[in-house]
């Protein structure tokens, strides 16, 4: 795995994706993942990460982790939170707590986990669990760049919380060679749920 990765990295090019919303404006915090069409790429769990609760908001709102990553949910507020997820990707519940819970939560299945707080309805966060090493979040300008993608046939998938219902994103075929690829993706997102919260 590693040699491939290394090899890949040796020859690999970067894939840049510009994501815009329905109105054509750059869409930040869209999750871009590039998955091979065939076979699975071995992925390493990401380094333990955290989704903190600060000022009754999850920070960050959108996270991307690989399968097997543990995520901690430190509470930085003075009030308690009750973080939960009914998502099939990871169904869990951290009953009212303050500070850092003893155990971080292991996200061991790919998918999208929607996090909420049972006592603060307005709090929402998404953790996208991917089983590919090629993923990125769009910047404020809607740019996402994935470097060192091993050449091959891929599907590039873009997801954003603003997509309706059960949509797991918009995907597109992508053949990666040595050259850098720049790809534009348009998502049918009208209202950005990540906009300024009331």
């Amino acid at each position: 795995m590693l040699p491939l990765l290394l090899c890949g990295s040796a020859q690999a090019g970067s894939v840049a994706v510009n994501v815009t919303d329905a109105a054509g404006k750059p869409l930040p915090l869209a999750v871009v993942s590039i998955e091979p069409v065939t076979a699975k790429l071995a992925v390493q769990p990401s380094a333990p990460t955290q989704v903190a609760q600060s000022k009754r908001q999850f920070v960050p709102r959108v996270s991307v982790v690989t399968v097997g990553t543990s995520v901690a949910f430190p509470n930085q507020d003075t009030v308690r939170h009750h973080v939960y997820s009914f998502s099939p990707t990871k169904n869990f519940e951290l009953k009212l707590y303050s500070g850092v819970p003893a155990q971080p939560v292991l996200f061991d299945k790919p998918g999208i986990a929607v996090l909420g707080c049972n006592i603060h309805d307005q709090m929402a966060a998404w953790i996208v669990v991917v089983d590919t090493p090629f993923y990125a979040l769009t910047s404020a300008e809607g740019h996402a760049r994935v470097n060192a993608v091993t050449p091959g046939s891929y599907r590039v998938k873009v997801w954003h919380p603003g997509l309706p219902g059960n949509s797991d994103g918009v995907s597109q075929a992508l053949t990666v060679g040595a050259a850098d690829i720049e790809q534009a993706m348009r998502l049918d997102v009208g209202v950005n749920p990540l906009g300024p919260q009331p």
Binding site: Y84, V114, G116, G165, N166, V191
Partner: protein, 816 residues
């Protein structure tokens, strides 16, 4: 009378009360009608507004309910346990969670949809029919710009029952599904509507547009809602205002509101309605209040008007009683109530004036009834009463044992002589003065208190002597005669008064007052007839008077039965002693009574007018005898007396003329004698008759000249040829130089006027001679000849001529 009056009173009172109450009822009815009309108008004006309010309240209620349900549903959807259950993926768990949590907020039907609005689970059946509704609701919820807490609810039919559905998203924390909750629309809506808007609500449903409406809910009775459901509620009426619907005979104003219009999945129509009839009806408590008011005011008015009527009618009763008193002749008691200021007072015052006036009039009438107005003496009525009481008093006195005196009452009756002539000649005013003088003189003769002088007729006076006997009556009569001896002097006229006096005494002559008076009257007539001065009643007089009663019948009979006889009294020429004429006189040969003297029937005939028959009889008889005497060679003039009534008979000259023709006698054969007074009764008519008689050729003569008051100037105008000097002068001329002078001057006067003069009452040769010396033309009297049967006149004439042998004269007369 009292009963009738009180009945009238009651009826008047009843009418007053009835009028008052009637008016009150009219006013009450008018008020009631006005109230009713006003209520009706008000109701009609208010109805749309009330219905509109009702409709808005319904809308508001539904909206509030939706809000409440939404809030509840939203809370429920956020329930962690619920969300956890939903995510259990176990259908039974999910359904039981839906039931359990739905029940918490009263949602009878709950359905779970995924984010693609596919039905995931539901409580109960038929939820699949709600797919369009769920889609609509989800669309509304998710519509951009909708506020997070905005209400979204719809009313729909589920299993034929109306539900209010709300749909909320399930967020965990993003939308992971939808939950639809259905709340049955139940009686609470109806009761809330009635509590808030006081309108009736009816909910109609139908599954398909072609179905009939079904009543699901209503605050109204079944009969009425049936009526409403049969109305053709078309979609077009949605939103249109008020509709009038007749249901079960009652009119309703209805405001329809379509809660759902879905031709395939069912429609729900809410009707807010109000009964027009109930709105215009006067509320029951107001009706009761009005009724109570009416009853109380009727009572108050009834009592009030009864009291008023009583107050009005009581004085009327008093007046009625007063009027009855007046009617009964009690004029002394004042009417009362005159002090009142009102109409009753005025009426009472009028009654009082009437009482005083009637009382005065009664006194006046009494005065007229009992007093003579000219002399101020009691009249016949009072006199009669006085006689009655005098007799009664005497009877009482006699009944007393102590009295020894014989009871007696005397009455004197007095009739003035020649009073009629005084009235005729000197006038009625003078006559009245004379009566007053006479009254005074009579009163002076009564020295005893209690005696009475009364004037009981034209010239008749009566005197009552209480306890007076015949002797006293005679004495008084004598005193009166003496008093009358002195002539009365009035306004430079001196009048010689005489009177016939009759007397009668109780109990000798009469048994009671009326008889006593009538007997005294009889005696008086008798005294006058006989010129006897005073005469005490005698039963013989009564017999005579009884005879006169049937006189008229008998006189008629006398004419038809030839009981009358013509007598002739010769008139002789004083110059030659020859028989130149005769006065024709009537005598009555009564079959039973014998020869009736003229005084007994001539005055009566004059009174009754029968004298005209007698005059004609005498004239015809005289004409017949004249023919016979003429045939025997006696050329004389026959004198016939004419009475007043004859002179007033316009046909008399015609009748005489006819008789002259019938008996072939010239008018010159007759001399018609008229007394002065006969002419004076109606001088104009008398003069007309005399002129006609004179024109016919009759000789006219003034009889009894000197006793009347005829002026010479008047005599001159009469067509007379002859004067007959009254025998009273002739009889006394021998002894009374004054009378002789009267005779002489009368003769001279008559000659100067060219009249022939005849002297009556020649009773002796001395008078004959005196008259001859005075150049009187003719003489008549007992000295020469009394009145004799006409048959014997011819013989008497021959005898007379033979006795006095005035051959030359006779031959001269015959030759004439």
């Amino acid at each position: 009378m009292m009963g009738f009056a009180s009945l009238m009173g009651r009826s008047l009172k009843a009418r007053l009360i009835a009028t008052f109450l009637g008016l009150l009822l009219v006013v009450q009815l008018a008020g009631f009608s006005a109230l009713r009309a006003s209520l009706s108008t008000h109701a009609h004006q208010e109805l749309p507004a009330r219905l509109d309010v009702g409709d808005r309240v319904l809308h508001s209620l539904l909206t509030q309910r939706a809000q409440k349900l939404t809030d509840g549903a939203r809370l429920l959807a956020a329930d962690f346990g619920f969300r956890e259950a939903i995510h259990s993926k176990d259908t039974d768990t999910i359904v039981s969670a839906l039931e359990n949590h739905g029940r918490r907020i009263g949602a009878m039907r709950v359905a779970l949809y995924d984010t693609a609005l596919a039905l995931q689970a539901s409580t109960g059946d038929d939820l699949e029919t709600l797919a369009p509704l769920a889609a609509r609701l989800a669309g509304q919820v998710m519509r951009p710009g909708n506020a997070v807490d905005s209400t979204t609810s719809e009313i729909g039919l589920l299993s034929d029952q109306p539900y209010q559905f709300v749909m909320v998203p399930i967020k965990a924390p993003v939308v992971v599904g939808w939950v639809l909750m259905g709340f049955p629309i139940d009686e609470r809506l109806v009761s809330d509507m009635q509590a808030l808007a006081a309108v009736q609500v009816t909910l109609l449903t139908r599954t398909h547009a072609t179905d009939a409406w079904q009543v699901k809910l209503s605050s109204m009775s079944r009969d009425h809602t049936e009526g409403l459901s049969k109305h053709a509620w078309g979609p077009l009426q949605a939103g249109s205002g008020m509709t009038s619907v007749k249901a079960n005979g009652e009119e309703f104003s209805v405001h329809p509101r379509w809660l759902t219009i879905d031709a395939d999945h069912g429609s729900v129509l809410a009707l807010t309605s109000l009964s027009v009839d109930a709105a215009t009806r006067i509320p029951h408590d107001l009706q009761v209040a009005l009724l109570v008011t009416t009853v109380i005011s009727c009572l108050v008015f009834g009592v009030g008007s009864s009291l008023t009527a009583h107050r009005m009618i009581t004085p009327l009763h008093r007046l009625s009683a007063a009027a009855d008193r007046l009617g009964a002749g009690d004029y002394a008691t004042p009417i009362g109530d005159e002090q009142r200021e009102d109409e009753i007072g005025h009426l009472s015052q009028a009654f009082e004036r009437m009482r005083v006036s009637v009382s005065a009039q009664k006194e006046e009438i009494l005065k007229l009834a009992y007093w003579d107005t000219i002399t101020g003496l009691p009249n016949r009525a009072q006199f009669r009463d006085a006689v009655c009481s005098a007799i009664a008093a005497e009877q009482q006195k006699h009944a007393a044992p102590a009295s020894s005196a014989q009871p007696s009452v005397a009455v004197l009756m007095l009739d003035l002589d020649r009073f009629k002539h005084v009235n005729d000649v000197l006038g009625y005013r003078f006559g009245d003065l004379l009566l007053m003088q006479v009254a005074e003189r009579l009163a002076q003769q009564l020295v005893r208190g209690g005696d009475m002088v009364a004037r009981i007729g034209g010239d008749e006076f009566a005197i009552l002597l209480r306890s007076g006997d015949a002797e006293l009556a005679q004495t008084v009569a004598r005193r009166i005669a003496t008093a009358f001896d002195a002539p009365l002097t009035l306004e430079e006229h001196t009048v010689d008064m005489g009177a016939g006096i009759g007397m009668a005494c109780w109990p000798q002559h009469a048994s009671d007052a009326d008889m006593l008076i009538s007997r005294a009257e009889l005696a008086m007539y008798s005294a006058k007839q006989r010129s006897a001065g005073a005469l005490m009643y005698d039963p013989k007089i009564d017999a005579a008077s009884a005879q006169t009663l049937s006189l008229l019948t008998e006189m008629r009979q006398a004419v038809s039965d030839n009981q009358l006889r013509l007598f002739l009294q010769p008139k002789l020429s004083l110059g030659t002693g020859a028989v130149v004429g005769a006065e024709a006189l009537v005598r009555w040969q009564h079959p039973q009574r014998g020869l009736v003297p003229p005084m007994q029937f001539i005055p009566f005939a004059e009174q009754t007018g029968f004298i005209r028959v007698l005059t004609i009889w005498i004239f015809e008889e005289a004409a017949r005898h004249w023919r016979m005497l003429h045939a025997e060679g006696l050329m004389i003039t026959l004198s016939v007396n004419l009475s007043t009534r004859d002179l007033l008979d316009q046909d008399l000259p015609q009748k005489f003329e006819a008789l002259l023709v019938k008996h072939q006698v010239p008018a010159e054969a007759f001399c018609l004698e008229i007394t002065e007074s006969a002419i004076m009764d109606d001088p104009q008519r008398a003069l007309a008759t005399l002129n006609r008689l004179s024109a016919l050729g009759f000789t006219l003569s003034i009889d009894d000249f000197g006793t009347g008051y005829s002026s010479l100037a008047y005599l001159k105008r009469l067509p007379v040829d002859e004067l007959k000097i009254d025998q009273s002068f002739v009889k006394s001329m021998e002894t009374d130089p004054d009378d002789a002078k009267i005779v002489r001057s009368t003769i001279d006067l008559a000659h100067n006027l060219g009249l022939t003069v005849v002297a009556e009452g020649v009773e002796n040769a001395r008078t004959w001679d005196m008259l001859r010396e005075l150049n009187c033309d003719q003489a008549q009297g007992y000295h020469m000849g009394k009145p004799m049967p006409a048959d014997t006149f011819a013989n008497w004439s021959v005898g007379w001529l033979t006795r006095h042998r005035p051959v030359d004269v006779v031959s001269a007369v015959i030759l004439h």
